[in-house]
Amino acid sequence: MYAQLVETGAKRLKTLEEMSPEEREFQEKVDAETKIEPKNWMPEGYRKTLVRQISQHAHSEVVGMLPEGNWVTRAPTLKRKLQLMAKIQDEAGHGLYLYSAMETLGADRDEEIEKLHQGKAKYSSIFNYPTLNWADMGAVGWLVDGAAIVNQVVLQRTSYGPYSRAMVRICKEESFHQRQGYQILLDMMREGTDEQKAMVQDAINRLWWPALMMFGPHDDESPNSQQSMAWKIKRKTNDELRQMFIDQTVPQLEFLGCTAPDPDLKRNEKTGHYDFGEINWQEFYDVLKGNGPCNRERINTRKKAIDEGGWVREAAVAYARKQKQRTQAA
């Protein structure tokens, strides 16, 4: 996932009658589940919304490497270290893949990254929380990648072809990460010491609510959802996705022998779903506005990496130019 509150620029949906012939043809194609490809005509709002959503998704993959980088130097075994390194490498790959999908819409990767560093572009709020013990590496895989998958499985059917295909590939790897994450927790709960078990519960306590926030605000607080759904950029609402996530996650939580920090979490026999307590939306909006525990650190780290790497990238360009001149001269 990793896209929250993506602005569409639309106040209300246009009816087919209000649309221009081009818009109508486009909407009919979307309604017929025909994928939109880079060379097809598309409304400007659709293009911009997709650029926002895909770049936000890409930024999240890249910023999401940082909370894991925090533990990759301290992984407890060779096996866990290698798994975490492979996961981080996958995430860099997802970032690259998504930026490429975004560039098919005429956007520029460097410009979008610059917006991120200026605080103008968003990334998933979850990565503004710190990873404080090793079990966080399990909980991030299980809950954060788990929440991402719920959204991304649906996004495999998104209307824009390159994004949809990126999702198919990314989903496969994310599912793998999620299982690995859960296994970390399960091994610690089954064979760990009391201290290790406490780490697991502590990680879940801290990451539970932020994971639920990943799906974004309630449907009635999500002004852009309607247009995104009509364009089939989004395929299910925030609340639907959140409920799906909770329903699949709670049995796993129980199997671990852990609890969620939510006294209202309970299976509703009538609906067959789990009821749960209200999210602290003030915290959600605070984090989105930049006031989460790690917002500053995350952006500063990314900005510093790109700023301090400027001379490296310039050298690569200069060398390539020289090589080209040499080939031409020869």
Partner: protein, 254 residues
């Protein structure tokens, strides 16, 4: 020194050098100059730690004192570590990171190439797989040394500085000791003279193309890593890398 002792020692050197350089590269997670580099650095690190695991596993089998690969990696203190001093040097700027990688990769490539013909079949098997990875590492770091050396004025200056800073740690790569000699005589390890010649040849070739000046052949060299005498950096690397194992010694499963 018996051949058996030398073999254990030699395996730990291979393992520890891979492990420590892999650890240094892990430190760069999220801090590379471009996203492509982010991926490549983690990829190289992954190869190195993966190779370290293979060497540790074989070493543990031979040492046979109840310690497994994880115990060897995460429960030995600095003076028991046998990595090359070069691998524990800090990342600094990207020129130092790439210079360190290049000097190491040249050594690694020729060492592994020779080890694929080792009289020890287990070693030859591990080396065959590792050589494929090291070949890619070397191609990549050579390209970067050339790019930075022959890029802009600033990158040239930084790359030359990196060569100058790191040069004193390169002697250890190609100066054999008893362990190296015993391994060579047994047909297990590479011929030290050949290794030194190959290393010098390729380093000179790449640095020349990169418009860089190598250090003097008779320059003073800082050595000792292979015997457990390290720079001050290793203690801190291990303090971080071994934190969980040290803080929770009773934990047997993670």
């Amino acid at each position: 020194m018996t051949q058996a002792e030398a073999l254990q020692e030699y395996l730990l050197r291979l393992a520890d050098s891979d492990m420590i350089l892999g650890q240094r590269l892990c430190e760069l997670c999220g801090k590379a100059p471009a996203l492509e580099e982010e991926m490549a650095l983690m990829n190289v690190a992954l190869d190195l730690v993966g190779q370290a695991r293979n060497w540790y596993e074989y070493a543990a089998e031979l040492i046979d004192d109840g310690r497994d690969a994880d115990k060897l990696a995460f429960r030995r203190d600095a003076h028991h570590y046998r990595n090359l001093l070069l691998t524990e040097q800090p990342n600094e700027d990207y020129a130092v990171t790439m210079g360190r990688q290049f000097f190491f990769d040249v050594w690694h490539y020729f060492t592994l190439k020779s080890l694929t013909e080792s009289s020890d079949e287990h070693i030859a098997g591990i080396a065959a797989k590792a050589l494929k990875e090291a070949t890619y590492h070397l191609r990549r770091s050579s390209e970067w040394v050339k790019r930075l050396g022959d890029g802009t004025e600033e990158s040239h200056r930084r790359m030359q500085d990196a060569v100058d800073i790191l040069w004193r740690f390169t002697g250890e790569l190609i100066t054999p000791d008893d362990t190296d000699r015993v391994m060579a005589e047994a047909g297990i390890g590479p011929d030290p003279d050949q290794l030194a010649q190959d290393w010098r040849g390729m380093v000179k070739e790449v640095l020349t193309k990169a418009t860089l000046t190598p250090g003097a052949e008779d320059a003073w060299m800082y050595m000792g890593g292979k015997h457990g005498e390290h720079t001050e950096h290793l203690g801190f690397i291990l303090a971080e890398m071994q934190f969980l194992q040290r803080a929770y010694p009773d934990a047997t499963t993670w």
